[in-house]
């Protein structure tokens, strides 16, 4: 069956007279819609157990970090300042038993006028071994340390005794 000759023009006329389609919503509105529209969440026993495990782990991690934060509280630590005279060094860091022998975050600050490298920190009471790591490769014991110990590798580590209440008056 052949359409009438005016078929196309009538179709176009109907389209033109129809109500305009709504404009697509903006992305932010669609996201807001997603959040405000009520939904039903069905959880299996396995899913519920997994959610509970997540919650318990979160609480555990929170508590652990809470304890760490308390142990790092200033009142439990004593201020220490490391100083090294090394005018020709390009970079110096302190590595020791207190930072896992890892220089990250323990780079010393250079004072070119005096040729000194310094770093201030806070450590817990006790005995700490350390060396200066010069230019990322050369370990160097602290000549100013009161004590040093054989490092077992043919060199020496400096020993820092951070005082507690027993020794604080010395």
């Amino acid at each position: 069956m052949e359409p009438r000759a005016d078929f196309a023009s009538r179709v176009m006329e109907r389209i033109g007279s129809a109500a305009p389609l709504p404009l697509p919503k903006r992305r932010s509105e669609r996201i807001l819609d997603w959040f405000v529209r009520p939904r039903i969440i069905r959880v299996s026993p396995l899913g519920g157990l997994a959610a509970a495990a997540c919650l318990l782990l979160s609480m555990g991690l929170f508590l652990r970090h809470g304890i760490d934060a308390r142990s790092l509280a200033p009142e439990g630590l004593s201020p220490v300042t490391f100083v090294l005279a090394a005018p020709s060094a390009r970079e110096v860091a302190v590595i020791g038993s207190f930072n896992g022998w890892n220089a990250a975050g323990w780079t010393m600050t250079h004072d070119p006028s005096r040729g000194l490298w310094t770093l201030s920190s806070a450590l817990p009471p006790g005995s700490h071994e350390y060396v200066f790591l010069v230019d990322g490769t050369t370990p160097m014991a602290d000549a100013a340390a009161a004590l040093s110990v054989d490092d077992g590798f043919g060199g020496r580590n400096s020993v820092l005794l951070v005082k507690d209440d027993h020794g604080s008056i010395l």
């Binding site: 069905r42 959880v43 299996s44 396995l46 899913g47 997994a50 959610a51 495990a53 997540c54 782990l57 979160s58 555990g60 991690l61 590595i95 038993s97 896992g100 022998w101 890892n102 220089a103 005995s127 071994e129 060396v131 790591l133 490769t137 370990p139 009161a146 004590l147 040093s148 110990v149 054989d150 490092d151 077992g152 590798f153 043919g154 060199g155 580590n157 020993v159 005794l161 005082k163 027993h166 020794g167 604080s168 008056i169 010395l170």
Partner: protein, 234 residues
């Protein structure tokens, strides 16, 4: 639904991961060193085996892990790291045997303090001699540390032996006595002989005092630097 459960389980696993990593710092260190071509698989195995030997003998392993980190940071050859681990392990074994002489089981902290004293300057003969007095493990650990520090500043071995025998036999050697070497250094700075420290220390030990009292006994000024002058006079 299955996807939701899997997602939650994955989340739980991811959150547990840092805990697992914290429990095995050695593995992370060794793997990183291998990735950086600083250790071969065989060398990493040798390090693991050395630490496993300490674990099998119930000796503290945390200082050994720290020694591995130290060796890698200092770019020490792997075989030298293993030799150092073996030496520390034997020091800890010797220290534990000495600490056990009194009949009580020492804590890992006591073993580490005593074992590390052997690296600081204490001789095995000196440790064995002090252990014969059968002090409690924490007190023997304090004695070991005190004597090692005195040896490290070349304090007379005879005098330090006298002081520590006195402290151990009286049971008055508190942890603060580890700072006795500082008293000896200050006394030397003041031009006084080591004998004076020994005489004052043995007297103070009999009275149950500490190194601060030794300084007072020697006529050297002691001030608590934690307090201001006004507070100190209260």
């Amino acid at each position: 639904m299955a996807r939701f459960s899997s997602l939650l389980l994955l989340l739980a696993a991811l959150m547990a991961a840092p805990v697992a990593l914290h429990a095995a710092p050695l593995e992370g260190t060794l793997r990183q060193a291998q990735a950086e071509k600083r250790l071969t698989t065989g060398e990493a195995e040798g390090i693991r085996a050395s630490i496993d030997q300490a674990r099998e003998r119930n000796l503290p392993t945390a200082p050994l892990t720290s020694k591995v980190e130290e060796g890698l940071a200092k770019r020490v050859r792997p075989e030298t790291i293993i030799q150092a681990l073996d030496a520390i392990r034997e020091d800890y074994a010797f220290a534990r045997d000495a600490l056990r002489r009194g009949g009580a089981e020492p804590t890992p902290e006591d073993i580490v303090r005593t074992g590390d004293s052997l690296r600081l300057g204490l001789t095995r003969a000196e440790l064995a001699e002090m252990a014969e007095l059968n002090p409690p493990p924490p007190m023997l650990a304090t004695a070991a540390r005190t004597r090692a520090a005195l040896n490290a500043i070349d304090f007379s071995a005879v005098l330090s032996g006298d002081i520590l025998r006195r402290g151990l036999s009286l049971g008055s050697l508190t942890p603060g006595w580890e700072q006795l070497f500082r008293v000896a250094q200050r006394t030397r700075d003041a031009g006084m002989p080591d004998d004076a420290v020994a005489v004052a220390a043995t007297r103070v030990l009999a009275d149950g005092g500490g190194p601060a009292e030794v300084l007072q006994e020697l006529g050297l000024t002691v001030r608590d630097t934690r307090r201001g002058p006004a507070e100190a006079t209260k």
